[in-house]
């Protein structure tokens, strides 16, 4: 069976960034991704990223994706596409990653394995939530920006985090009408500047509201909104009915941790980062030796931090493979931490910083 120094599961921003670091260090690395194109969700991000200018802030997500791909190509990183990983198994030589490729089940052993599997959107249930026309915001985003198809004309967006705000904006850019954005909490979750864009486009934002039900014969036709009190209970008499054909749900992400569970990782529960997260240390290594996590699987944030975590895990894995000395690795990791800490400051970032700090403390303290 084939054996390499590092196998990375997931070719999104975190996985590609990790592969680049390992390849730079001279390591043989294979990235395995289930999609036909690498880049993960980067290619549907058509907005300019925040962050520091030195690290591609102000550049549109898909352009960052293109740059990452070019780097991996230049460095000779092997990327297996259309190759869904279906399991991890124990092996004396490392960790066996089993996947499907070309109609055949195959396996490869990585001395080090990095899981960069990302996250999935949370669902929301209400009467009519299974009607065609109700979908995840990320799903709609892929449709408009990657496949260039409008999933509907008149949209209600649920959730005011950055995903809900950005996808609303992009739906409008693609030619849809976003009739309303509703948020159950009493205030907007995402950045004000993102909210500002859709407000300028005429979309109202209803905080303290939710969808009471969706009506339709065989697909979404009407959406009833209702106001919520401070205990998130519906306030009778506040219902309003809107004629819409699409409902997009953007109520948070859950890390895709299945492979980490299979591998026997220990988990901790941090709601702010999406629920149960594999415990990992400052090198992104889990409680299973040689198994690392990076990006949303290590706590759902956004692409910028995912890339930094990817780098960190890549540098750490390279160090563990003795491709870097401890000193070299220390300096490289310090740079990444500086950037990552910067992304986790301010009123929006501080909570994530604290949550991550709690996670690291869990790793140190055992359980």
């Amino acid at each position: 069976m084939r054996k390499v120094q590092a196998v990375i599961v997931g070719g999104g921003p975190a996985g590609l960034a990790a592969s680049i670091e390992i390849a730079k260090a001279g390591g043989k690395v294979v990235v395995i991704d289930e999609n036909g194109k690498p880049g993960g969700q980067l290619f549907k991000q058509i907005h300019k990223f925040f962050g520091s200018r030195e690290h591609r802030a102000g550049v549109r997500g898909y352009d960052i994706g293109t740059q990452l791909l070019k780097e991996t190509e230049d460095l000779g990183v092997e990327v297996l596409l259309d190759a869904p990983v279906y399991g991890l198994f124990r092996d004396p030589a490392g960790i066996m990653v089993s996947y499907m490729k070309d109609g055949r089940e195959q396996a490869i052993i990585g001395e080090k394995v990095i899981l960069a599997t990302g996250a999935a959107e949370n669902a929301l249930v209400f009467p009519g939530s299974t009607l065609p026309g109700v979908m995840g915001a990320g799903c709609a985003q892929t449709m408009i920006n990657v496949n260039r198809v409008l999933p509907g004309q008149k949209v209600i967006m649920v959730g005011s985090g950055n995903v809900g705000l950005i996808v609303s904006y992009q739906l409008i850019q693609a030619g849809a009408e976003v009739l309303a954005l509703v948020e159950a909490a009493p205030s907007i979750g995402g950045y004000g500047v993102h909210a500002g864009k859709i407000r300028r486009a005429g979309t109202p934002i209803y905080v303290g509201h939710t969808i009471k039900r969706v009506l339709g014969k065989t697909q979404v036709e009407k959406v009833e909104l209702v106001a919520l009190d401070e205990k998130f209970q519906e306030i009778p008499g506040t219902e309003k009915m809107l004629e819409a054909d699409t409902v997009c749900i953007a109520v948070g992400l859950t890390p895709l941790t299945e492979l980490a569970w299979l591998a026997g990782c220990e988990f901790t529960f941090i709601p702010l980062l999406g629920g149960h997260i594999p415990i990992h240390n400052e090198d992104m290594e889990t409680t299973v030796p040689g198994l690392y996590v990076a990006g949303d699987i290590a706590g759902a944030e956004e692409a910028s931090t995912a890339m930094e975590e990817g780098r960190l895990s890549g540098i750490a894995a390279a160090e563990a493979l003795q491709l870097y000395t401890a000193e070299e690795a220390k300096a490289l990791k310090a740079e990444v931490w500086d950037r990552m800490n910067a992304l986790r400051t301010g009123p929006f970032g501080q909570k994530r910083y604290d949550a991550k700090a709690q996670l690291l403390a869990t790793a140190k303290g055992g359980k």
Binding site: H47, K48, F49, F50, G51, S52, R53, A57, G58, V59, R60, D63, L165, I172, Q173, G175, E177, V178, L179, P186, S187, I188, Y191, G192, V193, H194, A195, G196, K197, I198, R199, R200, A201, G202, T203, I205, V207, A342, L343, R344, T345, G346, P347, F348, G349
Partner: protein, 170 residues
Amino acid sequence: MADGVKITGIPTMEELKATPGLVSDQRFEKSAVAVIECVQEIPCNPCEKACPFGAIIVGSPITNLPVIDEDKCTGCGVCLAQCPGLAIFRVEKNYTDSTSMVEFPFEYLPLPQEGDTVPCGGRNGQYLTEGKVLKVKKTKQMDGTTLVSVEVPKQYFMDVRTICRKGGSK
């Protein structure tokens, strides 16, 4: 009804005035100037690097609100297309005796033509006034973001921020 960017998505005049991104009333009288409507400490600093005159400072940490130096700002407008939040505008209050020029990023189709009369809207997208399109700037460097400047009655220089779209009713 509670107000403010966290509730409505629109910064209030008080919130704007409390930030270091808004120049003094006197400066508005002089010439064109950038108006940075960035009221939340988010990790972002492309505006700082964008300014060729060093008139915008974010510094460290990068969550600092951008500070505008009203003397250094020439009102060139280079920063507008660089802001990922599309939160910087260019305003020339005294464009004529009775009108102001407002320039804003615009990432929609169809684009207006120079000379068009367009319905102009405020931060909530609602119609405020008719405006005349002065310029439609689109360069490769701006990476898809178009800058549209409109001439509007002077009273709206701090209110007009966009062209009304389908969703914004007249």
